[in-house]
């Protein structure tokens, strides 16, 4: 591990100014949000920025707000801790708040930002599957102007996004949910905290009637493909089905077939595939059984195993 080498830090107060700094200073510049990825990359992965553009003084990049139509907009520089504790997020999408709570420690979450996490594009990022099952879109701002695209299209590979030099992820946009939407995120990892997901499964469902017919279904997987992914075949299988244990089990099998896990230091591909099968079924059944209320941390732990 090495200490950072001398570098220059700029602290713009607008997105425009931030982009201009990149244009003027040329290569060797990196955006700094919470620093929990960038500073580690400097210390452990040989990154040597010539300059760093600190985005934390740009007011428009922070904050969580709900529009009149029910759209939720989360500024990119919102910290994980803010997402975790936001009364708005906890009420509207409790499993999104919970997925943010799975990241690192409170100390990390007080600095790590949701936008920085997405821009880092780790396949196992915990909030990504939750955002995917909420049909999240990302707002990007850059020299070429502004753009909005689905989060699913934002990731292109491990650690890689569509963003070009000088472009900034400005916000996450969650469209109004279908009535009665509920969901769950399961982080499958051996440690209770401070771990990366070996497998991540998020589901969101709108179920109708006592027979629990799936009128809306989304399933997203983390850590089992080059990018966080939707399990579309499993979704298609489930749509309009009655969510029984048997059906949930078959959906799990479908999801397990469509993921593309690798073997690495944490886990074998075969085990990950099997855990997708198990945890997809579990997440579906948990969601169907729950009210829409908050689940305590302890309950979350128990329900995983």
């Amino acid at each position: 591990m090495k200490r950072p080498e001398p570098l220059e830090i700029f602290q713009p107060t607008s997105v425009r100014e931030a982009s201009d700094i990149f244009r003027r200073n040329g290569p060797g510049g990196f955006f700094l949000a919470g620093g929990t990825d960038l500073v580690i990359a400097i210390k452990e992965k040989g990154l040597v920025p010539r300059y760093v553009v600190d985005l934390k003084r740009i007011p428009s990049l922070s904050g969580i707000r709900e529009n009149l139509d029910g759209t939720l907009v989360i500024g990119a520089l919102t910290t994980m801790r803010e997402v975790e504790t936001s009364p708005l997020v906890r009420k509207k999408y409790p499993f999104l708040a919970q997925s943010a709570a799975e990241v690192g420690s409170i100390q990390i979450r007080n600095r790590a930002t949701i936008g920085g996490n997405m821009a880092n594009a780790t396949p196992s990022a915990d909030v990504a599957p939750a955002l995917l099952v909420l049909d999240a879109r990302v707002g990007i701002s850059g020299p070429g102007g502004e753009n909005v695209l689905p989060l699913e299209e934002f990731f292109v590979g491990p650690g890689k996004t569509v963003m070009r030099q000088g472009e900034i992820l400005t916000e996450l946009i969650l469209p109004p949910p279908p009535a009665g939407l509920r969901g769950e995120y399961i982080k499958f990892s051996p440690r209770e905290m401070m771990d990366l997901a070996y497998v991540g499964v998020a589901v969101s469902l709108a179920l109708e009637g006592k027979e629990k017919r799936c009128r809306h279904v989304r399933i997203a997987l983390g850590a089992v493909s080059p990018t966080p992914m939707r399990a579309r075949k499993a979704e298609a299988f489930l749509l309009d089905q009655m969510l029984s244990e048997k059906i949930a089990e078959r959906a799990g099998e479908e999801a397990s077939r469509e993921c593309k896990p690798i073997s690495d230091v944490r886990s074998s591909a075969e085990y990950r595939r099997e855990m997708v099968r198990v945890n997809t079924k579990r997440a579906l059944l948990n969601t169907a059984a729950n009210g829409s209320g908050q689940v305590s941390w302890l309950e979350r732990r128990e329900r995983r195993y």
Partner: protein, 162 residues
């Protein structure tokens, strides 16, 4: 390329003149001489470097000095109340919550952050709050007990002043 930093450190205003690339942890320990904050891992995994930044507990090993202008920082040295140990510190001593002491400053800071927000935490809540603070000596049992006893003492003191 030095950057002027006006910060408040343990209640005192100071102007720092340091290169922006210096880590906050090194600034505290090497430039200012406050060695209570420890480096356990350097990667934000162990919590030994925990300080309060603008009221929030963070890992000082991952913060660059150049980000600090205007910041309010509290370190373990700022936990005492005048000449007196903070009740959390007394509880750790009384209950055997510290062995080698290396994780202890971080544990105390994080415990304070928890009790400031939640004066009556359950054991689960204590363990959740301390998830980012690793201890290789104690097995955490006495640490949790110390936080519970400190919480009770703080509630008792709070009741006494109303």
């Amino acid at each position: 390329m030095k950057k002027k930093n006006e910060i408040t450190l343990n209640g005192k205003s100071i102007t720092l003149d340091v290169p922006p690339h210096r880590l906050l942890l090194d600034l505290l320990r090497d430039e200012i001489g406050l060695t209570g904050t420890k480096e356990g891992c350097g990667t934000g995994d162990c919590g030994a470097c925990t300080v309060f930044l603008n009221g929030k507990p963070v890992n000082s090993c991952l913060i660059l000095s150049g980000e600090l202008d205007g910041a309010e920082i509290v370190t373990i040295e700022g936990l005492k109340i005048g000449p007196e140990l903070h009740p959390i510190q007394r509880a750790f001593i009384q209950d055997g919550g510290a062995q080698c002491g290396y994780c202890t400053p971080g544990m105390l800071m994080m415990s304070k952050a928890l009790l400031d927000e939640n004066p009556n935490p359950t054991e689960e809540e204590i363990r959740f709050a301390l998830s980012g603070n690793l201890c290789r000596c104690t097995g955490y049992v006495k640490i949790v007990q110390a936080v519970q006893d400190a919480a009770a003492e703080l509630r008792r003191l709070g009741a006494g002043t109303s």
